[in-house]
Each structure stands twice: as C-alpha cells, then as structure tokens.
C-alpha cells in the first residue's frame, strides 16, 4: 500500500469537504436561500403558513446577518417663524422678502391658540406640541399626475426636508397620499415621515395637506447585535397577522430600518425593525432584535 498516495488523496478529499462546509456556513449566515439540510422543509412550512394567512410573497427576502444597534433620537422642534418662511417661499414666490418677514412676525405675535395654528397666504400651519406638523391647503387645484413633481420641488426648497426620500404611494377614493420617509446613515428611519395627502384629487378644488413628523437622530448606541433573519421575522409576523376580512394580499416590501411610535419624550432609542408592507396599504413592523410586533 502506498501510504504517501493515500495521504495525498485524503488531503484532497478533506480539502473539498471543508470548502463545501465553509460555503454552507457562509450561505446560512447570509440568511439567503435554503441551502442547509432541513431548510427546504422550513421554507415549505413558511409557504404553507403564508397561504393559510392568504398572503403572497412576490419579492425575494433580503439578506440577514447584519449587526446593528439602537438609534438614539430626539423630537425635532421647528421654529414657527422659520418654518412659515420656508413653506411660504416654497409655495408662493414673488412677494417682497422683507415685507413677508414682517408679516410672519405679526402672525407669530398674534398666535394664542393651542395647538399653535398660523394662517399665512391662504395656508394654515398647525404645530402641535407632539405629533406631526401639519400644513393645510397647499398646491390648490393641482392635477394628480403632477403631485410627485410638486412634492419633490417642495422638498428641494426646504432644507430640513432634505433627509426625506420617496417611499410609496397609496390611492383611494378622492385621496392620493405620497409617503416619504426619513433616512439616517444609510438606514430608513420609518418613524420620521413626510406625507402629501392630495384631497379631492382630479377636481379643480383639490388641495394638498402636508404632514411632517421628523426626528433628530443623535447616533447609534454602542451595543451592536445581529438582527433576526427575515424568515424568522416573517414567521413572527404571521403569528399575529389577522388579515383584512380574509382578503388576499401580497407582500410588496420587506426591508430593514428603524421605527418607533411617536413619544412625548425628551429622548428615546429606536429599535431596528423589519418592515412588511402589503399591497393593500397595510404596514407592519417586526422588531429585528426581539421579533415582537411594534406599533
């Protein structure tokens, strides 16, 4: 028996085996396709659970395995005069800047309402202590097809809206809503949103109400940890999903970001979440650390 040749054969055999094992580990950690033994069975169980919930998954699940931390934020407190100035300039040009500034100061001075409400140039700005800032009566008579262009132009002209990016659109009876979400450090910050609600879309008396809820991110917490895989998040979602009167719906988005409720607090931490958006407009958030449903 040639011991040397036998060793060589064994070395090659184990080398190949180890390469295969390494690939399996890498693929499993990436949270992607079900390559591991038994994973096919889990995938088929997940498909069955989706069918039972009358849900369709028409997209690929994103990759997991990311390590993230909580995000610390404070509520954004706009200066009313500055906000009115920017909104007015963005919505209606052509007036003398100094005269407009003087009128803004008078509007601010005369405000004694709670929540604060300011009327300027045919628009109304409502500034509640907590919750979203509301701008009423923008883009009067705007055709629906021009809503996105108008919204983008509006965002461009207002510096504190520059960290909002387009999210999705929902159309209903007489109302079309464009959703933008805040972004921070490459992550979607779902808790911060900008919404353009086009009321009376398609009519001459249409107008747009703008809702702005913005957060001031302070940075990430020190402790990073791995997020749960998307498949696990989907399982957790299905455990609590009750559906809408048994109607079928499709999952149109499955993404990782940050979300929390709107707190009347000084400072808070936001957890990473898997956002699951359905084609009927419903949006669900699954905590990417604990698997609990948020919101």
């Amino acid at each position: 028996m040639d011991l040397s040749r036998a060793k060589t054969v064994l070395i090659f055999t184990f080398l190949c085996l180890n390469i295969i094992l390494l690939y399996q580990i890498w693929a499993s950690e990436a949270g992607g396709s079900p390559v591991l033994f038994g994973e096919e069975e889990k995938a088929s169980q997940l498909e069955a659970a989706l069918q039972q919930a009358n849900l369709f998954l028409n997209i690929d699940l994103p990759r997991g395995g990311m390590r993230v931390a909580h995000l610390e934020v404070t509520p954004w407190q706009p200066d009313p005069a500055e906000a009115i100035h920017m909104f007015w300039n963005a919505l209606a040009e052509g007036e003398d800047a100094a005269a407009r500034q003087q009128r803004i100061l008078e509007i601010i001075k005369n405000d004694n309402k709670d929540p604060h409400s300011f009327l300027f140039g045919g628009y109304e700005l409502i500034l509640p202590g907590d919750g979203p800032l509301i701008l009423r009566g923008a883009f009067a008579g705007l055709p629906t097809e021009q809503l996105r262009t108008a919204a983008e132009g509006f965002i461009e002209q207002i510096p504190f809206l520059n960290d909002f990016v387009y999210d999705y659109k929902i159309s209903g009876d007489n109302v079309t809503a464009l959703y933008y979400r805040q972004a921070f450090a490459g992550f979607p910050l779902y808790a911060g949103y900008l919404q353009f609600r086009h009321i009376g879309a398609g009519t001459k008396s249409s107008y747009v109400d703008v809702y702005i809820y913005r957060l001031s991110p302070l940075g990430f917490a020190e402790q990073e940890r791995e997020v749960i895989p998307p498949a696990t998040a989907l399982w957790r979602f299905l455990e609590t999903y009750r559906g809408e009167n048994g109607h079928a719906a499709a999952i149109v988005e499955f993404s990782l970001g940050y979300y929390s409720e709107e707190y009347a607090a000084q400072l808070w931490e936001i957890a990473p979440v898997w956002r699951i958006r359905l084609d009927n407009g419903e949006v669900y958030f699954i905590n990417a650390f604990t698997g609990y449903r948020e919101g």
Binding site: L3, L21, H70, Q223, I228, P229, Y263
Partner: protein, 504 residues
C-alpha cells in the same frame, strides 16, 4: 520531511472539518432561537419565609382582671417577636391537636375561664396552609384567638364556621410563656371601640372642652332603636330628649355623668361593624423621609431578558422608560418605579391565593427587594388576578403615601402584568419631639364636621380609625406627619393632623 508535512496537513484538515461540522450543526444560532427566558435571578433581598410574608395586622392581649388591652402593631419589635413565637408554637403543636365545632355555650364558659387570651387579626387574610400543613389549604384565616383553660391549650378560628383546636398542655408552659413575654413587652395600651356609641360635640368653644363619646350601657336592640330615634330630624320628637337617652341607659363613658338635652341632640350615632382597637395614648413626632433608590442596572437585569434589548426613553418629567416592546419599566426621577406587561393580563385567573402570595413575595424580593418594616397591607381579588398592596411602617404606624400604599403588584397565572414601587426610608435624624395625639373622639368630631354634607342623618358607620403617618412630599424632602386616619363608610378616608386636626 514531505511525508511528515503531509501528515500535519492531513491532521489539520481533519480537525478543521470536525470544527466546521460542529459550527454548521450546533453553532451560531440566532438569539431568539437559543435564548430561553432566563432572567438574572439575583434577589435584592432574600424571600421572606411564608410565616413572615404575611403577619397579623394586630395582636391583642386580653388579661382577666385587667380592663386594659395590650396592642402589638406591625413594625414594632415586640410584634415581630410575639408573632414568631406564636407561629413556631402552633406549627409545632397543631399536628397533634384535636379539632371540633364548639358549642356556643360551652365556648363562652371556656373563654370566661381563660386567664388570658391572645387575639390575632390578619388583614389581608392568611392562607391557612401557610400556617400549618394540617389546616385546610383552600381556606383563609382572618383571625384567631389563643387561650388556655385548665390544662388545655385552645386555638379558636372564627371563620364561616367556628373551629376549636385543642391539645393537652399539662404544664401550661407554652402559651403562658408567650403571654408573660407579651405582658412584659412594650405593648400599646389600647381600647376596643364598642359596636355602637354616641359622639358628642365639644360643650362650648370657650370652656375648652373636647368632643367625647358616650357608650350604651347594654348592647341590645332596644337601645339601638332609641339611639336611632335620637337622630330623627323632627325637633319635637320626644326621642330627641334626654329622657329618651336615659331610658336607653346611656352613660357618659368619659366623664361618667349624664349629658344635657342640647348636647345630646347634637350627638352622632356611630356604628362600628368591625373590631377597631385604638391606642389609648398614642405619641409620635414628625419624621424626615428619603426616597428609596433602587440600583437601575440591577433592576434592568432583573426585568429584561437582555437589558441591551430594552430601548431607553427619557421622558420630559425626567423619568426613564425602558421597553422591549412587550413590557415597560418606568423609573421616575424621584426613584419610584412602575412596570407594565400588558401581554400578561388575563381575563380569568386560575392561580390560587397562596400561590399568588408566594409569587408576589418572590417578585418583590426580586424586583427591588423587601425593605425593613414593610408589610402586606391589602389584597384584592379580581378576575385578572390578585392585586397586592404593601406599606412601610414606622414605630408601628403605617406610612400613607400620595398613592396610599408604597407598593402594589398584580399577580396571575401568566405572570406579573403590573408593579409599582415607591418606598420611603425614615430618617433617624430630623425627628421632632414626640407629642400625644389629640383624643380620637375629637378626630371623629372633626371628621363628621368637615364632611357633614356626606351624611343624610346624624349617624355614621366607622370602618377604620388608627394613628398613621401621612407622607407630605416637599421639595426639600418628604416628611411624615402623624395623623388620625378616619374612615367612615359615608365619606371615605380622611387624614387629620395629630395636633391641629386639620385635614392632610
């Protein structure tokens, strides 16, 4: 040389393949798959033994030949020693005791023959199996009376049915020792309020007299009827006269003299449905308090599976709120804490009282600890579980905080959906000179005068009357002010300053 090199390579590859197989099958699983609900079971204080987690609200010593009763209250050293001695004695003796349903007449004779008796009142009630395994587990114990007659030692339980436990004690040493140690201990001389009495106003403002009570000489139905007649609103009603009172056999228990018509017509009939023991001459002074501050990090580790999973929210009032989406822990700037876990609410609790009590005691020790001189004060049974309330005691008197109690907790078969904790620590320094309380009759008069609009007639039902410490939170630090706690069924609780009788 190349052969040895090949051997090393081969061995290395075999070891690597074993390691990779291990990783693939067992290693690196995700958090929620591997982490069992394993909390850090580091107790802030040890869990009290079942005999100590619920102690009698009152221990009263009655001695034949002595009119004065001795009262031992929670928070007093003598109370603790007495209760330990009694519970140890009964746990030792009860297994050998014979039990019977006593005949009323025979029981009255036995009680009359007893040279002394000790009465224990439990509020909230004690699950009987806490006390001795031989007692029925499902029953609750509200009170017990211990006495000896001849060579026999008796324990009388007066629940729905009276049960008399007895065992032969030829030397009578067991209870005698306890009774003599109780008599020698610093008990508070006390009086038991009669089931019915008349509260009289102060004679005049100038004479400096005080309100007082008069007690019916005999407690029978006829007297009660006449006393009710006193409260008629018709000024010409003959029942409002002193004759009617005289017929009813009413004597002034304080002064020993009959009262005049006018004073009596202004009297209030006070009914006392329960047993109320009032210290004869309570003495107390103001006490400075500090808030208990529980170590935040340790609390977080106790409450959350992994504290790093809990999000931190700093609220505008300075409170810090931690939540992992399922439960929330709010730590107030002053040190109070509040925990909620809505997912643990149930509609139909199946946990027994004794199990809930043990669980509550464990939780209190685990989530902040069981401070010195803190006692379970109240329990409410609801469909969602048992609601427990604890209070701190200072010198035998309860501390009544802004919320009333220092801690509260709901326990059910799913867990602990709610917990609040805000203990005060009495300071050794900064106490004012102890002064005697105003007489309780004056406090009662002040209470009915302040809340006259709550009564339809000049009659009231007194549910509680006790000296307490009322906590007044102030910027400079909280103070405990001695006060009479007066609880009429018609008015709710009133706290009256122990010197001025002003409401607190």
């Amino acid at each position: 040389m190349p052969e040895r090199f090949k051997t090393f390579i081969l061995a290395g590859l075999i070891l690597l393949s074993l390691y990779l197989n291990y990783i693939l099958w067992f290693g690196d699983r995700y958090l929620e798959e591997v982490a069992l609900p394993r909390y850090e079971f580091v107790f802030f204080t040890p869990i009290p033994s079942p005999g100590l987690l619920l102690t009698p609200a009152e221990i009263v010593l009655e001695q034949r030949g002595k009119e004065e009763l001795l009262l031992f209250r929670r928070g007093e050293t003598a109370h603790t020693h007495l209760w330990q001695a009694i519970s140890a004695l009964l746990q030792r003796k009860l297994p050998d005791a014979a039990v019977e349903r006593p005949d009323e007449a025979a029981l009255a004779v036995l009680l009359q023959e007893a040279s002394a008796a000790i009465f224990l009142r439990f509020a909230p009630p004690l699950p009987q199996n806490f006390f001795a395994d031989t007692l029925p587990a499902a029953l609750e114990l509200h009170g017990m009376r211990l006495f000896t007659s001849g060579d026999v030692f008796y324990m009388l339980l007066e629940e729905r049915e009276k049960s008399l436990y007895r065992w032969f004690d030829p030397e009578q040493k067991a209870l005698e020792t306890i009774i003599s140690s109780a008599a020698a201990a610093a008990g508070t001389p006390t009086e038991k309020l009669p089931p019915l009495f008349v509260l009289l106003p102060p004679p005049t403002a100038d004479s400096g007299g005080a309100a007082k009570i008069i007690v019916p000489e005999k407690e029978n139905e006829a007297e009660v009827k006449n006393l009710e007649d006193l409260n008629t609103t018709d000024p010409d009603d003959p029942a409002r006269t002193g004759d009617a009172v005289g017929e009813a056999g009413i004597l002034n228990a304080e002064a020993g003299e009959r009262e005049g018509d006018d004073v009596l017509s202004e009297g209030w009939k006070i009914a006392v449905p329960g047993s109320i023991y009032v210290p004869a001459t309570p003495v107390a002074g103001e006490v400075l308090l500090t808030r208990e501050v529980v170590a935040e990090e340790e609390l977080l580790r106790a409450f959350f599976l992994d504290p790093t999973m809990a999000r931190r929210i700093k609220e505008r009032d300075g409170a810090i709120y931690y939540t992992d989406g399922k439960r929330g822990l709010r730590i107030y700037a002053g040190g109070a804490l509040e925990y909620t876990a809505p997912g643990q609410n149930v509609l139909n609790n199946r946990l027994s009282y004794s199990a809930a009590l043990l669980q509550a005691a464990e939780n209190l020790s685990l989530y902040g600890g069981w401070p010195h001189n803190v006692f379970l004060e109240r329990r409410e049974k609801t469909a969602g579980g048992y609601h427990f309330f604890w209070r701190s005691f200072v010198d035998g008197m309860p501390l009544i905080t802004e919320q009333g109690d220092c801690a509260e907790m709901i326990v059910n078969d799913k867990g602990m959906p709610y917990y609040r904790r805000s203990f005060y620590i009495p300071g050794r320094e900064g106490r004012t000179e102890p002064l005697s309380f105003r007489h309780y009759a004056e406090a009662l008069w002040q209470a009915v005068s302040l809340r006259q609009e709550s009564f339809h007639r000049r009659e009231a039902t007194l549910l509680e009357l006790e000296p307490v410490y009322r906590v007044l939170p102030e910027a400079a630090g909280a103070r405990a002010i001695p006060a009479w706690a007066v609880h009429f069924a018609e008015t709710g609780r009133l706290y009256l300053h122990w010197q001025t009788l002003e409401p607190l």
